[in-house]
Symmetry: C2
Subunit: 204 residues, 2 copies
């Protein structure tokens, strides 16, 4: 094993890579066709296997403001979801609840505009609860389980300990911490920064 | 002592009230006169004694964007300072350093526009380091000193522990934690939420 590989292996036993997610939209196939006249077109892969950013972009409209050129992530889903930060929510005039991805019941809606048409969502706008995508192997090594809430120390410009971090375990994941931009900026996150799970004596 | 007073007294021995500071500008008297044609006019008092929000507002312009209707705080200072969040910095196209208030050497500048004229700042744009204004009495009670860096547990919707919180002690202060909106949103802050200083075994 070369020195870099050894260092990498040791680091991966202690730290987890962090990523900041900007505002983005998930769509159904029908919604994509209404907005763009066709299904989503993969542009570039994301860190989670099988996930990608689409070439298509949408405008998200709320009662107080809008964001143009918002990323759309693929593949298409069974239900639309708009993930924004609380800061974004103030601009749009929408108060998103803090939710795990996929949990959109009774969340606020928004209007989406594309080059081919628009879609009015009755619900689906959330702020994603900070979370860790983790493989079963890494979960076992770090001693955490699916849906557990854990604490995460950030090694960043403005260090802090996030306390309500949701663990999501799947063999389809790459191991990464996902923050929104409020959280990323609050800890001074830069690409490549690492976090560390803190041990919990009792449920965190 | 009535029950509420007792509860308040106990709470104040454990917790510190938190506040979120939106983007704002401090000006010199000369700059205020150039922007507005006169000095600043007090509108409403802030929590820190002697500090107030002015009736006057400015537009802050950066290379990529601008914010209109930005709060100006008085009284006038010896040097201008523009306090924004890192999120604001992305909109403006300005990367503010994380600094204590008053520490603006070699920080980026910005253009300020008022109804009467504009001012180009060569420096002065910062993101305020999260901090605690604290009276000497409270500092003594909590066992902290001026310029110390401490940890603060938030009791908020998305709890976390801020790790690099600057203590500023003065008899002219009211005891309050000041966060910017990235930090406030990252912890799910609502008005009235409380924080607690965490004990440090060694320098935090």
């Amino acid at each position: 094993m070369e020195q870099n590989s050894i260092v990498d292996a040791v680091l991966k036993n202690i730290f987890i890579e962090m990523e900041a997610s900007g505002r983005h939209v998930h769509l159904t196939k029908g919604q994509a066709e209404k907005l763009f006249g066709h299904g989503l077109t993969p542009d570039r892969p994301l860190s989670q296997p099988g996930q990608w950013a689409a070439k298509e972009r949408v405008t998200v409209v709320g009662p107080k403001g809008e964001f143009r050129n918002v990323a759309v992530l693929g593949p298409e889903r069974k239900e639309a979801q708009v993930e924004i930060s609380l800061t974004d929510g103030r601009v749009l005039g929408i108060q998103p609840p803090i939710r795990a991805s996929g949990s959109v019941e009774n969340s606020p809606g928004a209007v989406l505009k594309g080059p081919n048409g628009e879609v009015t969502l009755g619900q689906g706008v959330i702020a994603a609860q900070r979370h860790i995508h983790i493989t079963p192997e890494d979960a076992s090594r770090f001693g955490v389980k699916d849906k557990q809430i854990v604490k995460l120390q950030t090694y960043t410009g403005r260090p802090l300990v996030f306390e309500d971090v949701l663990v999501r375990v799947s063999k389809d994941f790459a191991t990464r911490v996902h923050l929104d931009y409020d959280e990323a900026n609050a800890c001074g996150f830069q690409n490549g920064d690492l976090g560390r799970l803190l041990p919990c004596k009792k449920p965190c």
